[in-house]
Every structure is written in structure tokens, then in C-alpha cells.
């Protein structure tokens, strides 16, 4: 019996070792930033990103690329999310694999938080400088105070080269050019090492003598005062005076070396200039909308009225960055991320040109696995089951017009 027990124990130990070893050898790279875990209504009814462009797929260290496009701040912003009165145009990358060399909204540099208006559309651009080699998913991203990060579409980008060669030269207003990547590093190490050494010296002074047992006995015996000698007090005074002297002298020498310093810059940037959108001539009313769970398809009944002077056709439905296109009307030529592009995902019951002044009721179906992959189907579990998105209509010349839709969504489980 004991032999069997020993064998079982031995084999169990071997199995455990093999499992641990296998786990150590198989360490896949984490690649997502959690955008899919974000509630569907957050992505569908807050910031709509469109016309996005990642300027490069591969970029060497020290070279730059841009992520640009437009975003629409949805007028039907959900009640459960704070309005974007304080928001920050961020970029969703796994840490500082790029540095953000610049970011602009409506042509205005936005290194700090901004105030955005509901219902407005803004143009944006983020300039990134490659820093750390690897394959990185680069997302558009808007942080909203009280709402959290609102992550937009992402695209894989490769950085080549070596991080050791990365530099970030900056010229100060005092005329010096510094490499921000390594600037002030030696000074930081020096001061921390110096003070750590002084602290250790203080410890060593007391630790070289017996500490706990004999001193505790003395304290308990009422002889605590005998434990501190006049030399101890002198050494203590020397440490205190030395500390104050070092601090005073280092502060004076620092002020002499850096006579011009300014406080950190902070404060909300207001007055972002929205994009001037053409006057809306197409009116869309959502009669009803259902999401068919087994078919991974959303069906809408739309009443479309063309009040313009040119015939138009429905080209695209865009929600949470997933684009459903009618290939007969529109093809993507922007190299948009494949997983978020349903190039043939939009079908319209009658998508013949809608003449000026014409009103038509159509059945629109947006179907693709992206509903599940991007967990937009989870919308049916949200506390406020509404969907929202952008419809793009195009005329014969390819000129587009954007119309927002926002309506309740009824799930269908059969």
C-alpha cells in the first residue's frame, strides 16, 4: 500500500513539474486592450469614430506615423455616462511603445483635457513616434471624465529597429537641447543614492551595537536613559545639521543651475472647433429595429426622405467602429482593419437611387460575425437597450452625407 502511495505521490509531482514547465514555455503575447469588454452601448452611443486612417503599417524606431480621422460626439449620449465636458484625446497602445509627439482636435494642439459638445463632429490627428519594437494594436481612444476610456477601432502596426537607438530631443526655452528619454537620469540616481547612503549610515550607527534583547531588558528595568549616550546625541545632531546643510546647499546650487523654472501646466482647454458639416438634406426615421441573435444580424425599418437636390443611396452603417457596407454602392479603399469591416455586410431591400423629394421605407440588414466578435450583440443585456450609429448616404459622384440614428432595439431569439 505504501509503495502505491509513494508511486502516486511521485507521479503527481512529476505531472505537476511538467504542467509548470509547459505553462512557462507557452506564454502567448496578450494582444487586446479590453475594448471588447466595454459595454456595447458605451461604444455605440458615445464617440463615433469614422474616416480613420493609420498612415503606416510598419514604422522604424524614431520614425513617425499618424492616426487621423473624425469623431462624432453623439447627441443621444447615454444618461449613465458623464457628458464629455472634460475629455482627453488619448491613444490606445500597450504602454509607451510610441511616444505621442502631438495630438490635435480641429487643428488645435491638445496636450491637456478638452471640452466637447454633444452633437458635434471633430477632426483629429495623433502623431506618434515609434519607440519600442514589436507588433502593437493601435487604437483611437477618448477618455471621458466620469465615463472612462472610450476605445475606438484599432489596427496592428509593426515597429522595427532597436529601442536603444530611440531618442527624444527637445530644445528648452533656455536654449538647451536635451534627450527627454534619458534626461536628468544620472542626477536622479545620484541624489537618491546619496540620501539612501546617509540613511543607511544612520542605521549602521545604531545597528553596530546590541539592539533588541539587552535594550529591552534595560528599558524594562527603568534604565532607558542609560541607553543613549552623549556621543549618540552628538552624532544625532551632526546628522540633523548635515541633513539641513545638504538640503540648503543643494537647493541653492540647483536654483543657480536652473534659474528659470515654471510650474506644471494644467487646465481644461475649451473652444474646440468642430467640423463644419454640410447641411443635412436626408432625413431618416427608424420605424423599428431588431437584433436577431441566431443570425447575428440587425434589421431596421427606415423611412428615408431625400430633401436634397441629388439622388442618393445608402452606402454604410457604422456603429462602434464596425462598418457594414453595401458593396454595390461603396467599397473601402482606406485599408480599414479587416475584422471591423463587413465589406458586404449591408443589404437594403431597395437601394436604388432615392430621388430628390422622394420618401421611401426600406428594410436594412447589417449582418456580420463582428456583432459577436466585438460583443455588440451584448447590447441586449444593457440596462438601456438602444442602438445608435452613423448612416452614410452617397450620391453618384461619391460625395457622402452622414446621418445619425438612435432607436430602441428589440432582440429576437428565434
Amino acid at each position: 500500500m505504501k509503495l502505491i502511495k509513494d508511486k502516486v505521490a511521485k507521479l503527481s509531482f512529476v505531472a505537476l513539474l511538467m504542467t509548470v514547465t509547459a505553462a512557462m514555455l507557452y506564454t502567448p503575447t496578450a494582444s487586446a486592450h479590453g475594448e471588447k469588454s466595454q459595454a456595447a452601448f458605451m461604444r455605440m452611443r458615445t464617440i463615433h469614430w469614422f474616416d480613420l486612417n493609420w498612415s503606416k503599417d510598419t514604422v522604424p524606431v524614431n520614425e513617425t506615423m499618424t492616426v487621423s480621422g473624425k469623431f462624432h460626439v453623439f447627441a443621444g449620449w447615454p444618461e449613465t455616462v458623464d457628458k464629455p465636458e472634460s475629455a482627453f484625446l488619448n491613444i490606445g497602445t500597450p504602454g509607451p511603445v510610441f511616444i505621442r509627439a502631438g495630438s490635435w482636435i480641429g487643428g488645435k494642439l491638445v496636450p491637456r483635457s478638452v471640452s466637447l459638445e454633444l452633437g458635434e463632429t471633430y477632426e483629429f490627428k495623433v502623431l506618434l513616434k515609434a519607440r519600442r519594437p514589436g507588433d502593437w494594436h493601435v487604437h483611437t481612444m477618448m477618455n471621458v471624465e466620469g465615463g472612462g476610456p472610450i476605445i475606438g477601432p484599432g489596427k496592428w502596426t509593426t515597429i522595427t529597429g532597436s529601442m536603444k537607438s530611440f531618442t527624444d530631443p527637445i530644445t528648452t526655452l533656455t536654449g538647451d537641447t536635451v534627450d527627454l528619454e534619458k534626461y536628468n537620469l544620472e542626477n536622479t540616481y545620484f541624489w537618491h543614492a546619496l540620501w539612501f547612503g546617509i540613511g543607511l549610515a544612520w542605521m549602521v550607527y545604531w545597528m553596530r551595537k546590541p539592539m533588541f534583547v539587552p535594550r529591552h531588558i534595560a528599558v524594562e528595568a527603568g534604565k532607558a536613559d542609560s541607553l543613549i549616550s552623549s556621543t549618540d546625541k552628538l552624532v544625532g545632531m551632526a546628522f540633523a545639521v548635515g541633513t539641513i546643510a545638504i538640503v540648503a546647499m543643494s537647493m541653492a546650487s540647483t536654483n543657480a543651475k536652473y534659474p528659470v523654472t515654471t510650474p506644471l501646466q494644467a487646465g481644461l482647454l475649451r473652444g474646440m472647433i468642430p467640423l463644419e458639416m454640410p447641411a443635412q438634406t436626408i432625413n431618416v426615421k427608424v420605424e423599428d429595429a431588431t437584433y436577431r441573435v441566431p443570425g447575428r444580424a440587425m434589421q431596421m425599418t427606415l423611412v428615408i426622405t431625400n430633401n436634397g437636390d441629388e439622388p442618393v443611396r445608402l452606402a454604410e452603417f457604422n456603429t462602434a467602429g464596425v462598418r457594414f457596407l453595401d458593396p454595390k454602392v461603396w467599397e473601402d479603399e482606406t485599408n480599414y482593419p479587416d475584422d471591423m469591416l463587413a465589406a458586404e455586410g449591408l443589404t437594403v431591400s431597395d437601394n436604388s437611387p432615392l430621388a430628390p423629394g422622394e420618401k421611401r421605407t426600406v428594410e436594412v440588414t447589417a449582418s456580420d460575425a463582428a456583432w459577436e466578435v466585438y460583443r455588440l450583440a451584448d447590447l441586449i443585456y444593457d440596462p438601456d437597450s438602444r442602438f445608435a450609429g452613423l448612416l452614410f448616404f452617397a450620391n453618384e459622384a461619391g460625395k457622402r452625407q452622414m446621418v445619425t440614428v438612435d432607436a430602441p432595439l428589440i432582440p429576437s431569439f428565434i
Binding site: L173, M211, I244
Partner: protein, 247 residues
């Protein structure tokens, strides 16, 4: 060997055992305090200590000493009143700084590649030395709280200035004035730390013009006095051994 017999056979052996005990206690104390103090400081000082673009002349100066004086006060209460050892504040701060440097170097830089010149910890050792020396010289908790607590708050900003000042040199960047520290915060992308959560340069000290750091430091020193008292008593309560008597 009966319970009444000594565990050691000579004075030399007793000294050796006592010293071994000293090192064991010091080692354990250092790492226990390191762990507890580090978690406490990360939760309460947090971003003010993590990033250079949070190290301003108002709130960092105010908050950091107030939340940092806690463990030094508690450890002092044990080491001084039980053993007359005046290094409670320094051992606590050395532990904190070692933990912080390990964290900043291996986690912030090693794992996530934030440069060390952007995420180094604040300097607390000058204040800790003053706190210990004042307790040594005064043998008074009240004086240590009042004089030491105030000194702890007052010396914090000048003690850090040699490392911070180079980062407060201004630059013109795409038509805006920023400090190099601001630029670090802007350049090194932090997806989970958007700019609006940065609590810097807020407050109502505008009547003091540009010289708000000394006012902030005085206020910090004043609150540090109160926190010192509180944590000194926490230390006494936590280090109590009355439970042994009840066994």
C-alpha cells in the same frame, strides 16, 4: 533541559544569540514595513509619487508628507519606547524607498517601459532623519510630533528640488508652453491615466503669487503633526502585547 534552565551556556553564546536575534528582527521588520508602507503609500500618495507631471508645488508638496509620515510615526513608537532605538523613521523610509525603486525599475521601466526619469519616487530620507534625531534629542512624542512633523513637511520640497527642478525648465511645444515634466506626461502614453485626473496646480493659493510651495509645505507640516500623533498611537496599539498576558 527544564524550563527554568538557560538556553545558552556562556555569556559569549548569549551575545551571539542576541545579535542573531537582532539581525532576524531587523530583517523581518524591514521587509514587513516595506510591504505595508509601500501599499499604503501607493494607495494614498499614488500618482503624485509615480509621475513627474504630478509633482507640482501645491498638491504633491501637501499630500506626500502627510501620507508618508504615518509608518515612520508608528515604527518610532515601538522602537523608541521599547528599545530606545531612534531609527524608526529612517528604517521605514529606507524600506519604502527600496520597495519603490524595485517597483519603478522592474515594473514601470522593465515591464512597461516608462523611463525611470519619469517615474522615480519622491525623496523622504531628509525628513526621516530629522524625525529620528528630534525624537532622540527630545525623548518626547509631543515635541517629535510638533517639531519633527513640521520639519518633515517643510523639508520635503527642498529635499526633492535638486531632482525636480531640471524637469521644470520650460519648453515651447507646438505653440504651447509646457515644462519638461508636462512633456514627459504627454509623450509617454498612459492609457489608464488620462490628463484630467491629474490633480496639480488646483487650489485657492492665488494670492501668494508664484511662491505657493512654502505655504503648501507649512500646511503639509501642520497636518503631518496631527497625523504623527494619530499614527504614533496606532503603532502603540498595533505593537501592544497585552494579548500575551491573556493567553
Amino acid at each position: 533541559m527544564s524550563a527554568s534552565q538557560s538556553a545558552v551556556r556562556s555569556r559569549a553564546e548569549a551575545i551571539k544569540v542576541s545579535r542573531t536575534f537582532d539581525w532576524m528582527i531587523c530583517f523581518t521588520l524591514f521587509f514587513v514595513v516595506l510591504g505595508g508602507y509601500h501599499i499604503h503609500y501607493m494607495l494614498t500618495g499614488g500618482d503624485w509619487d509615480f509621475w513627474t507631471d504630478w509633482k507640482d508645488r501645491r498638491l504633491w508638496v501637501t499630500v506626500a508628507p502627510i501620507v508618508a509620515i504615518t509608518f515612520p510615526a508608528a515604527v518610532q513608537s515601538q522602537l523608541w519606547w521599547r528599545y530606545r532605538l531612534p531609527f524608526g523613521a529612517v528604517i521605514a523610509v529606507l524600506g519604502l524607498l527600496l520597495g519603490e525603486w524595485i517597483n519603478r525599475y522592474f515594473n514601470f521601466w522593465g515591464w512597461t517601459y516608462f523611463p525611470v526619469n519619469f517615474c522615480f519616487p519622491s525623496q523622504l530620507i531628509p525628513g526621516a532623519i530629522l524625525l529620528d534625531v528630534i525624537l532622540l534629542l527630545s525623548n518626547s512624542m509631543t515635541l517629535t510630533a510638533v517639531v519633527g512633523g513640521l520639519a518633515f513637511g517643510l523639508i520635503f520640497y527642498p529635499g526633492n528640488w535638486p531632482v525636480i527642478a531640471p524637469l521644470h525648465v520650460p519648453v515651447e511645444y507646438n505653440g504651447m508652453v509646457m515644462t519638461l515634466a508636462d512633456l514627459q506626461g504627454y509623450h509617454y502614453v498612459r492609457t489608464g491615466t488620462p490628463e484630467y485626473i491629474r490633480m496639480v496646480e488646483k487650489g485657492t493659493l492665488r494670492t501668494f503669487g508664484k511662491d505657493v510651495a512654502p505655504v503648501s509645505a507649512f500646511f503639509s507640516g501642520f497636518v503631518s503633526i496631527l497625523i504623527y500623533f494619530l499614527w504614533h498611537f496606532f503603532g502603540k496599539w498595533f505593537g501592544g502585547t497585552s494579548f500575551i498576558k491573556s493567553i
